[in-house]
Amino acid sequence: MTEREALVEEAAGAWRPASPGQVRPHPAWADLEPAGRLEAYEITCVLRRLEAALDPQGLSTTARAVLARISG
């Protein structure tokens, strides 16, 4: 796996640095060029649906991250 491929896969994950009230990009996303960012986006679209299908409550990791944030 090349470093670029690793960055794309990492940026497609749901974890983001904590920053209440602000948008903080994933460091891996920040290191990618526009084409790599698009790839990460396309992978994310599919990955979230797969994750949701595998989650007992049908929630993606994005949904889980948001629910954790609003729960404080």
Partner: protein, 199 residues
């Protein structure tokens, strides 16, 4: 998730969310996330859509108690799209990307107004069953890697998950890639094109 939420229509979900019911919000998320993410596609090369999406959804939760629906379908989703789009534009401006291409913004905003109909296809029970059956065929390490991400729910970076599994970061990410590709291939053998079915 409560049975009532599973059967709920948008109005019932909205009532629950406005009353501060996180289960209703969770159910709404499961039905709306894909369409909301899709509305941000024009921004994907320029802003971190995942970060924008998460912050937008937190803001949707915060403003919904004061939200008055307009009576048209998908009222809350349309509000969420407006919030997300405005946040994406703010990010473009913060990064001074708006100076590059004024036409881009106009095009992106017009695209974001388009709303695909119907709930996310990931909520289709037959599709969910096929994905679950394919998951059972995964080799152990790819299965462990994707399971670690699901269990973490976006709370921890991949380096932490990799460490917990005794993998190096690159190995962990390789296993995520492998899991994703194997699931897609398994679904294709069942006549399901992941890109179109899950888009």
């Amino acid at each position: 998730m409560p049975e009532s939420a599973e059967l709920a229509g948008e109005d019932l979900l909205l009532d629950g969310i406005r009353a501060g019911d996180q289960m209703s919000f969770a159910r709404w998320l499961s039905l709306s996330e894909g369409r909301l993410r899709g509305s941000l596609r024009p921004f994907a090369a320029r802003v971190d859509v995942e970060a924008v999406l998460q912050e937008s959804l937190v803001r949707v939760w915060q403003v919904t108690p004061r939200f008055v629906p307009d009576g048209r379908p998908d009222a809350l989703l349309r509000l969420a799209i407006r919030i997300a789009r405005n946040l994406a534009v703010s990010e473009l401006r913060r990064n001074r990307i708006d100076l590059v291409d004024p036409e881009f913004l106009e095009r992106a905003l017009a695209d974001a107004e388009r709303l695909t109909s119907g709930p996310d296809s990931g909520s289709d029970p037959i599709l969910r069953q096929a994905i679950e059956e394919c998951r059972r065929t995964l080799p152990r390490k790819p299965a462990d890697a994707i399971q670690a991400r699901i269990e973490s729910g976006g709370a921890e970076p991949d380096a932490v998950l990799a460490d917990r599994l005794g993998m190096r970061r690159n190995t962990f990410l390789q296993n995520i890639t492998r899991a994703r590709r194997l699931l897609a291939a398994c679904l294709r053998r069942r006549g399901i094109d992941v890109a179109s079915e899950l888009a």
